[in-house]
């Protein structure tokens, strides 16, 4: 009698436990690792290697990337002081535009994947910010330092900047965007963004 009740309680407890804890691996490193593993799985899936599956492959990678990256935070940090001057519509237009550009850059880097290894060196958490240090070991045995910077938002960690060999994506675009806005205008920046995306789609 008693053991039966006990086992039921345990069963219910486990049920609740599995429902309430998110299925995701916890912490910034777990988050990055999970997404990277997913992308590597997509890239090395033999069923997706044929040329006619390129779009399908890209779509699936994009899905994983969108889940990991916080495009609004990206845009905010990249436009920096110019972000505040933007209206709601402008922001709504800019975030996906810039997101697409970053995504494409990421895709270019990732698409010719051929068995490179990703090592996770360490993570650092400072309040709501997280830093994940990783190394990509290329086939010719070069080590490329890749740092992910994440911010805790809502229930999860989201990437807001990626640094490759010390070159931060956000900073690099910030300098470029700032120069364009200062020399011409924000409208010109959006126009050039659109042209860039349209030209090589």
């Amino acid at each position: 009698m008693m053991p039966k009740v006990l086992s039921q309680i345990i069963a219910v407890f486990f049920l609740i436990f599995t429902i309430t804890t998110p299925a995701r691996a916890d912490g910034p490193m777990g988050r990055v690792k999970e997404a990277t593993d997913k992308i590597i799985a997509i890239l090395s899936d033999p069923a997706l290697k044929t040329p006619d599956k390129v779009q399908e492959k890209r779509r699936r990678i994009r899905q994983v990337v969108d889940e990991l990256f916080d495009w609004e935070e990206f845009s905010r940090r990249t436009l920096a002081k110019h972000w505040k001057k933007r209206t709601e519509e402008e922001k709504r237009e800019f975030v996906p535009l810039f997101g697409k550009l970053v995504e494409r850059t990421y895709m270019d880097k990732v698409e010719d994947y051929s068995g490179e290894k990703v090592l996770y060196v360490g993570e650092r958490i400072q309040e709501k910010y997280g830093l994940v240090k990783a190394k990509v070991v290329t086939n010719d045995r070069r080590e490329i330092d890749v740092d992910y910077r994440l911010k805790h938002k809502g229930r999860d960690w989201y990437v807001y900047d990626v640094t490759v060999v010390g070159v931060s994506l956000v900073k690099s675009y910030r300098v470029q965007f700032n120069e364009i806005i200062m020399q011409s205008s924000y409208e010109e920046l959006v126009k050039r963004l659109k042209d860039k995306l349209a030209a090589e789609e």
């Binding site: 002081k81 505040k84 550009l101 830093l131 740092d147 900047d161 900073k171 300098v175 470029q176 860039k196």
Partner: protein, 325 residues
């Protein structure tokens, strides 16, 4: 004769350096924070940031206008006029952003705890001064064409003939020859551990494979300490000065150019091998390493809205990171 020349140039370097240091300072003052300085909004933001500071340290005492330790301590630029013009804009912006995202959208929030103390993520953004931009852009264009019309096709053809494994061996060989530069600069920066590891690497690699295989790093895990004279200068607080995009050589700065000259004189092989052969060897080294990195420059260009600015900033960030390491 060559040796005397080397010593002469080195000693002149030390004479040039102190004036150059002060020159750098004056340049950084003359071109603060790059293009942003041309806009009055920088000033406004600057003021806003300091405004936050003042709130944080205000201690309830009424300081006489001129003796407030923070408010009037270092700079006198903020004026009430500025403050008034700023307020409506700020209010409007915060109102609109709170609607879209619940996150606190203050400028303070843009800080990045993993940045270095002196490299806060706040605008005005730190980047390299570039008063020579028109000339640099011309050279950038030249180098771009040089890459696509000469180096890339040659490296491609070379890459078809020799398999990747061979090219990696060649790269390792040249890399191993760079040992004296790395060793000397480790010593100059007081990184004696690095100098020790470099010596080990050189001995192990030279003995086991004449430097064609990087046994020390691949099998024994001894890391390379990539130091050069430009980094040594940076290590002792010399800023990059101006950005220079040299033809053929590519992105550099005044400091790194001095560094390259210094490195030429710390490379013993340059005293042994005749100049004309040396040029040939260097060209081969470039072709070989280009054949291993085809596609990287193309990616940068494809990702950038302004490839020149992207290259300049990537160079600056990359070098700053190297100095920090």
């Amino acid at each position: 004769m060559r040796r005397i020349c080397g010593i002469f140039i080195f000693s002149t370097l030390w004479f040039i350096l102190p004036p150059y240091l002060s020159f750098c300072r004056s340049v950084e003052n003359a071109f603060p924070a790059q293009a942003i300085s041309s806009d009055e909004s920088t000033e406004r933001f600057d003021h806003y940031d300091r405004g936050l500071d003042i709130d944080a340290v205000s201690d309830g005492f009424e300081y006489p206008r001129s003796t407030h330790p923070v408010k009037y301590g270092h700079r006198q630029t903020p004026t009430t006029n500025n403050n008034i013009s700023e307020k409506p804009i700020m209010a409007q912006a915060t109102k609109s952003t709170t609607e879209s995202s619940q996150s606190e959208d203050s400028e303070e929030d843009l800080t990045d705890p993993f940045d270095d103390k002196d490299d806060k993520d706040l605008p005005p953004l730190k980047t390299i001064a570039d008063p020579l931009e028109p000339v640099n852009r011309a050279f950038f264009y030249f180098n771009d064409k040089l890459y696509f019309w000469l180096f890339k096709p040659v490296a491609r053809g070379y890459g078809y003939i020799f398999p990747q494994s061979v090219r990696i061996c060649v790269r390792n060989f040249f890399d191993n020859l760079g040992f004296p530069i790395r060793f000397v600069n480790c010593m100059l920066q007081g990184k004696f551990e690095g100098a020790g590891f470099e010596t080990q690497r050189f001995l192990i690699n030279s003995i086991t494979s004449f430097g064609f295989k990087d046994v020390a790093t691949d099998n024994l895990g001894i890391k390379e300490y990539d130091e050069d004279f430009g980094q040594t200068l940076g290590f002792y607080g010399l800023g990059p000065g101006l950005y220079i995009d040299w033809p053929i050589v590519g992105p550099s700065s005044v400091t790194d150019t001095i560094g390259i000259i210094g490195d030429i004189y710390t490379q013993p092989l340059n005293y042994v091998i005749e100049f004309k052969y040396n040029i040939g060897i260097r060209a081969y080294d470039i072709v070989n390493s280009t054949s291993l990195t085809i596609g990287e420059y193309e990616d940068l260009k494809r990702a950038a809205l302004d490839p020149y600015v992207a290259m300049r900033d990537a160079y600056y960030q990359f070098r700053q990171n190297k100095i920090r390491e």
